[in-house]
C-alpha cells in the first residue's frame, strides 16, 4: 500500500508570460515529496478547473503576476465549486496588493504569497491545509 501523496496543480492563468516563480514553486514542492501537475502558461479558469478535476488534486496553486487576480480567482473558485471540488485548497502566488488579501481570503483562498515568500512556508502551509 502506497501512502497518500499530496497532488498539486500549479497553473498560470492570465496573459503574463513570467513562469519562473511557478517553476520554482513546482520544483520545491516536488522536492518536498508532492506530485505536481504543471500546466504551463496562459490557462483560462475553465482549463484550470478541468485539469484540477481530472487530476483529482488536493491543492491548486495559481501564479498571477498580471494584476488580474481579482478577476481570475473568483472564477476559478466558482468553477471548482460547481464541479463538486469544494475540498480543494487554493493558494496564490504573485504580486498581490495588501488591500486585496482579505477579499481573497473571503473567497475561500487558503494562502497568498508575494515576492520573497519562502518555499518552506508554502510547503508547511500546504501540508497543514491538506492534513486530515
Amino acid at each position: 500500500m502506497t501512502d497518500k501523496k499530496i497532488r498539486v496543480l500549479v497553473a498560470k492563468p492570465g496573459l503574463d508570460g513570467h513562469d519562473r516563480g511557478a517553476k520554482v514553486v513546482a520544483r520545491a514542492l516536488r522536492d518536498a515529496g508532492m506530485e505536481v501537475i504543471y500546466t504551463g502558461l496562459r490557462q483560462t479558469p475553465e482549463m484550470i478547473a478541468e485539469a484540477a478535476l481530472q487530476e483529482d488534486v488536493d491543492v491548486v496553486g495559481l501564479s498571477i503576476l498580471s494584476g488580474a487576480h481579482m478577476a481570475l480567482t473568483p472564477r476559478v473558485m466558482e468553477l471548482l465549486k460547481s464541479n463538486g471540488q469544494t475540498n480543494v485548497k487554493v493558494f496564490i502566488g504573485g504580486i498581490i496588493p495588501d488591500e486585496d488579501l482579505s477579499r481573497l481570503k473571503e473567497m475561500g483562498v487558503t494562502g497568498v504569497y508575494g515576492p520573497g515568500a519562502s518555499t518552506e512556508d508554502i510547503i508547511r502551509d500546504i501540508k497543514i491545509a491538506t492534513a486530515g
Partner: protein, 334 residues
C-alpha cells in the same frame, strides 16, 4: 449510487476520485475495480513510448485530436512521468503539450507519477487503464516515461505500441540493440522536418529488415542465388512494423499514422493476436497479484523479529540468502 455505477454513468468527478483510490491501491478502490472488471475489454489500448524529447506528448495530443475530430471517439490519456528516487515527489508536465484538448468532455487526461516503478509505467497504470476502459472510453492512450532501452512494460499492456524516434538520437548500432525498438508495432519518426531524418529512417528500415528477413541472398559458383526463407505458417500472418513520419507540432503525418494504427488493429483481429495479447496481459496481471498476495501472506506469517534475525545473519555472512529463504519458508506456504 455506488462508485462503480457513477463511473458507468459517466460521472467525471467520481471517475477522477476512483483513479486516485486505484492509484493508491486502497481497499475500496480495489472493491470498485472488481465491480467494473466485467465492463472492461472494449477499449483499444495504444502505448506511446520513446526517449525523452522525441515529442511523445505532442504526438499524443495530435492523435487524440484526430480521434475526436475525424472519428468522434472518446479518448482517455494516461501520461506517466518519473518520480524522484530521493523524495518521491514528481513534476508531471505532459499536460503542457495537450492544451488543445481542454474543454472537450469526451477527453480525459490523467497524469501519473511512476512511484518507484522501473518499467516505464507506474504499478497502478494497468488498473487505471481498466477504469477508463470500463468508463466507456473507446481509445486509451498511455504515454510512458521518457524511456531508455529497457522500459518495455508498455508492450505487455497495450494492443498497439508506438515507439517514437526523432532524428539525431543515435546511430544504427542503437537500432539493432535489443529492447525498445523490438516492442514497436509502429515506428514513428517524429520531428521529420529536422535534418538527419533520412538517416534515422534508413537505420530503422535496415533494423526491420534484419528482424524480418524474407529472403537470403548468397553467392554460389559466381552467381547470386536467392533462397526464400521458409514460408511462415499460413495461419500466422506476419506484421512488419511500418515507419510513419510525423511533425506533431504541425499535425503532419497524423492521419497516416492513425490509418497505420487501424491497419494494426485489423491485423490483430484477423490473426487472432488480439485475443492472444489480452490473454498474455491478464496472465501477467494475475501473476503479479499472486506474487503480491503471497508476499503479504508471508509477512503476516513470519514475525518481523524473526525476519530481522535472519536478515542480520545474512548481513553478517553467517548464512547465505538462499539458506535464509529456506529457513524463512520452512513449513510455510506449502
Amino acid at each position: 449510487m455506488t462508485s462503480s455505477q457513477a463511473i458507468l454513468n459517466g460521472d467525471r468527478l467520481a471517475l477522477a476520485r476512483l483513479l486516485t483510490r486505484v492509484e493508491n491501491d486502497s481497499p475500496d478502490g480495489r472493491a470498485t475495480l472488481i465491480e467494473l472488471f466485467p465492463h472492461t475489454g472494449k477499449a483499444h489500448l495504444i502505448g506511446v513510448t520513446g526517449a525523452p524529447g522525441t515529442g511523445k506528448s505532442s504526438l499524443v495530443n495530435q492523435l487524440a485530436l484526430h480521434y475526436r475530430k475525424a472519428e468522434d471517439k472518446r479518448v482517455a490519456i494516461v501520461a506517466v512521468d518519473p518520480s524522484s528516487p530521493f523524495t518521491g515527489g514528481a513534476v508531471l508536465g505532459d499536460r503542457v503539450r495537450m492544451r488543445d484538448l481542454s474543454g472537450d468532455p469526451n477527453v480525459f487526461i490523467r497524469s501519473m507519477a511512476s512511484r518507484g516503478s522501473l518499467g516505464g509505467l507506474a504499478q497502478a497504470t494497468a488498473n487505471v487503464v481498466q477504469v477508463f476502459d470500463a468508463a466507456g472510453f473507446d481509445i486509451v492512450i498511455v504515454e510512458t516515461v521518457g524511456a531508455g532501452q529497457s522500459e518495455v512494460d508498455i508492450a505487455r499492456l497495450a494492443h498497439t505500441t508506438l515507439v517514437v524516434e526523432a532524428p539525431g538520437l543515435g546511430d544504427d548500432i542503437q537500432a539493432i540493440k535489443a529492447g525498445i525498438l523490438e516492442i514497436a508495432d509502429i515506428l514513428v519518426v517524429n520531428k521529420a522536418d529536422r535534418p538527419g531524418v533520412e538517416n534515422t529512417e534508413k537505420s530503422l528500415k535496415s533494423m526491420l529488415e534484419l528482424a524480418h528477413p524474407t529472403a537470403r541472398v548468397f553467392k554460389h559458383h559466381g552467381t547470386y542465388m536467392s533462397v526464400s526463407m521458409p514460408e511462415p505458417n499460413q495461419n500466422v500472418n506476419l506484421w512488419i512494423p511500418p515507419i510513419q513520419k510525423t511533425i506533431s507540432t504541425e499535425g503532419k503525418g497524423i492521419p497516416e499514422l492513425v490509418a497505420a494504427i487501424a491497419r494494426h488493429v485489423e491485423h490483430l483481429r484477423s490473426s487472432g493476436d488480439w485475443t492472444l495479447r489480452e490473454r498474455t496481459r491478464l496472465e501477467v496481471e494475475l501473476e503479479a497479484l499472486i506474487r503480491d498476495a503471497l508476499m503479504t501472506r508471508f509477512h503476516e506469517d513470519v514475525p518481523a523479529s524473526q525476519y530481522e534475525d535472519v536478515l542480520e545473519k545474512v548481513v553478517q555472512r553467517n548464512i547465505s540468502p538462499w539458506e535464509a529463504v529456506r529457513m524463512l519458508l520452512n513449513g510455510r506456504l506449502k
